[in-house]
Symmetry: C2
Subunit: 116 residues, 2 copies
């Protein structure tokens, strides 16, 4: 894992447990114990997942007595989506034909040693 922001975000999202935690937080803030409840993993494991999510900026945490509440911060998801938006035309049906054409042209002139 690199330390640049997007890498942090994507690798935080790469774990299904962490995605489930985010899904749970979308329904409201929760403590570590509440977040751990649905999973069959230990509390320390959940604690570390939260640390990863926090490092990626995907959650923020506050302390209230001995409870630490986690809160969803979806801004990084926007960042990630923004990065992917550069490729939107590649899956958007209305661009498919033009794209095919442009790619074929570029392909022919760039690829070395290809005869057709």
């Amino acid at each position: 894992m690199s330390t640049d922001r997007l890498s942090l975000i994507f690798s935080a999202l790469a774990d299904p447990t962490r995605r489930a935690i985010l899904a749970r937080l979308a329904e409201g803030d929760a403590t570590v114990n509440e977040l751990a409840e649905p999973f069959s993993i230990s509390l320390p494991a959940v604690s570390r997942h939260l640390k990863v999510l926090e490092a990626a900026g995907l959650i923020s945490r506050s302390r209230n007595a001995q409870w630490r509440s986690s809160k969803l911060e979806a801004e990084p998801l926007r960042e990630a989506t923004e990065w992917m938006d550069r490729y939107r035309r590649f899956w958007d049906a209305s661009f498919t034909r033009l794209d095919e054409h442009l790619r074929r042209i570029q392909h022919d002139s760039q690829k070395p040693g290809v005869k057709q």
Copy 2:
């Protein structure tokens, strides 16, 4: 890394070299050598990055003589975006205030042992 589809996609995107490869492929198909050129890593390393991208469905590959051409397949990016879209309201300014309020209400009724 888990084996479910989204995990494969996100963890493929977590590496900056792989993201750069995708960016390059957005400009047109390319061979392994062409893709490796901008990086200071060995050819085998690039070859394995391509394997990861292929496993995630982010590229497809074809052989033409001894050259293996990679092609961007952005459909998985759409999938990933779709997953993240569930959180769009959390970064949409028009929802911010309502959200704050709803979260606070839920927070109060859910969090155990909190007095205020």
